[in-house]
Amino acid sequence: MSETLAASGPIDPSKRTWLIASGCAGAVGGIAAAVPFVSSFQPSERAKAAGAAVEADISALQPGEKMTVEWRGKPVWIVRRTPEQLAALPQHNDQLADPLSQRKPTEQAPEYARKDEARSIKPEYLVVVGICTHLGCSPSDKFKTGPQPSLPDDWAGGFFCPCHGSTFDLAGRVFKNKPAPDNLEVPPHMYLSDTKLLIGDDKKA
């Protein structure tokens, strides 16, 4: 290569400068052309619209029951907790990784769901996204208390993730030494009336 260059006469530096400059300009153009393609990987407007808030009618929900609504394609659980279940929440704080919702606070719950152990606006109703914070499986209900397979003997009711064994209590708080690092996410939500919940938005008054 260098021999042929030498044989073809002296190097013209200005030609070389322009070649480098146009090469750089071409590279910039190439990168600019890649932007629309990479952007097309983002969620489409339709997918974002599907992320709009959904209403849930909780009038038929009995104490100790759970209902699931779909928000952004994810299951959102609404659990109506019994007074006993609520009373049990502060008692196992020492077994939890983050009992007071202090880790990554803004990501795991809006401010109104971080004020106490119940993690909810009205203590009776728990609203959480039913997706494990480990790798996104959907935990199963384990509301029955007491000893049972793959759960501790003093189990006070909660959720169990079948994928990698993480456990959560009835406020969606994760137990210590489990693969899941964080508590279940509380979506932004608000009460439209005593029996109507809006999930996905809390700004409209």
Partner: protein, 466 residues
């Protein structure tokens, strides 16, 4: 540029046609270079058929894939039904689909054996490093291809497997959550994800794969094959410049490979016809249930060919992190104390180790699990530079090297098996030990591969005529 070659007017029609083509396209030249005058060592053993076989499986996958795309619908609402339609209503559709699904597993079987052959005979050693790197690229592309293809039937395992693996990316600090969003194209695995995985599976990754296969073969034919003795046959040539221990690929190895192909097709057909699910290993039972985003199956495991790497992922728990931090510290102390190098390098190593330890303490074990899984594949790329043994082939290495290779294979099977099983305390401990052994095997290779008494390598290959 070749000069135009005139042929005698009395030549046969065939010769005239070939001459006409050769003046316009290097057909005879290519055939000679890659087949009839490509000299391969004459001492190939059974381990040398898996390269040809993986090419065969690639062709099977492409052909069956083309036909499957004619009936499949990449739509979250229709995908599962269209696969069942192929299985039940499309004439012979079940056969094409089972060939494709069995082909995926067969691909990994032959590629794992092909790679192990390279490991045994030092086929990645100088000057064949690029052949090995292209090969590792093929392995990586193959993993991407298999992973994205597995989402397409839109069964429960497809869905939740993809959900778990895509969520792995969200463990990367800072960019992770946005990256996972870009991969999925939605807030959860959904129609958008299925559509783009379909696009990657049927066109993008296969194009990369084919390019890498061509590069792999061009690099191989430039340098020539290694052999079970790890001897360069080009070092001993006859008066015509032909390696004394080489034989033309065609007809010797082309015929030899046709035999291997028929043997392979015996086994392949037996599986396609009699055990296409392979007891839940090739096609998982949960995948016969349509994807349900609200319910995770009770037990999630990847398909068998990913399980060794999945075990590496699961082995990294917060307790394991302390062991790994210990390994980093011991490694850094040994490097600083034992290796002769300028004190600046030593300071860089010590500082780097401290930064890594700080990061290991600061970032979730989940992320380091992802690093371990990725590292388990990426470390293969470095093999040419990790192996410092004075001989290439295992035949001339100390006996305990063979034992170590055997232990590596057994360990690979064990972590592969554990990856299919639910987590338990004892299995967790074994997989952590297996993970340390897996990485130790490679990371300590620069040292152990030099130890022991090596046998004298002969100048000509071992070969008995048969």
């Amino acid at each position: 540029m070749a000069t135009f070659h005139e042929i005698s007017p009395n030549a046969s029609a065939g010769a005239k046609t070939l001459n006409w083509i050769d003046n316009r396209f290097p057909l005879s030249k290519l055939f000679k270079e890659h087949m009839s005058e490509y000299y391969a060592p004459k001492n190939f053993n059974i381990w040398y058929i898996f390269g040809s076989l993986s090419l065969l499986v690639l062709v099977i996958q492409i052909v069956t894939g083309i036909f499957l795309v004619m009936h499949y619908k990449p739509d979250a609402a229709l995908a599962f039904g269209s696969v069942e339609y192929i299985m039940r209503d499309v004439p012979w559709g079940w056969l094409i689909r089972y060939m494709h699904s069995t082909g995926a597993s067969a691909f990994f079987v032959v590629v794992y054996l092909h790679m192990f052959r390279g490991l045994m005979y030092g086929s990645y050693r100088k000057p064949r490093e690029l052949i090995w790197l292209f090969g590792c690229g093929i392995f990586l592309a193959l993993m991407a291809e298999a992973f994205m293809g597995y989402l397409l039937p839109w069964g429960q395992m497809s869905y939740w497997g993809a959900q778990v693996i895509v969520n792995l990316f969200s463990a990367i600090p800072f960019i992770g959550p946005d990256l996972a969003l870009l991969i999925r194209g939605d807030f959860v695995v959904g129609d958008a994800t299925l559509n783009r995985f379909f696009s990657f599976h049927v066109i993008a990754v296969p194009l990369v794969l084919l390019g890498l296969v061509v590069a792999h073969i061009i690099a191989l034919h430039e340098i020539g094959s290694n052999n079970p003795d790890g001897i360069e046959i080009k070092a001993t040539k006859d008066a015509n410049g032909i390696p004394l221990d080489g034989i033309p690929f065609h007809p010797y190895y082309s015929v030899h490979d046709v035999f291997a192909v028929s043997m392979f097709l015996f086994v392949f057909s037996a599986i396609v016809f009699f055990a296409p699910e392979m007891g839940g290993y090739f096609l998982e039972y949960n995948n016969f249930i349509p994807a349900n985003p609200f319910q995770t199956p009770l037990h999630i495991a990847p398909v068998w060919y990913f399980t060794p790497f999945y075990t590496l992922l699961r082995a990294v728990t917060s307790e394991m992190m302390y062991v790994l931090i210990g390994c980093v510290l011991v490694g850094a102390v040994l490097a600083v104390a034992k290796i002769k190098m300028p004190s600046l390098f030593k300071a860089v190593i010590a500082g780097g180790a401290l930064v890594v330890v700080a990061m290991m303490l600061a970032i979730d074990a989940k992320f380091w699990g992802v690093v371990a899984m990725g590292g388990g594949v990426v470390i293969l790329f470095f093999l040419p530079w990790l192996d410092n043994s004075p001989v290439k082939s295992i035949r001339y290495r100390p006996t305990w090297h063979k034992v170590l290779y055997g232990a590596f294979v057994i360990n690979f099977f064990i972590i592969g098996y554990l990856g299919t099983q639910p987590v338990s305390v004892i299995a967790g401990r074994i997989s952590q030990f297996g993970t340390l052994f897996y990485f130790g095997f490679f990371l300590l290779m620069p040292w152990w591969s030099r130890l022991g008494t090596f046998k004298q390598v002969p100048s000509r290959v071992n070969f008995t005529a048969h």
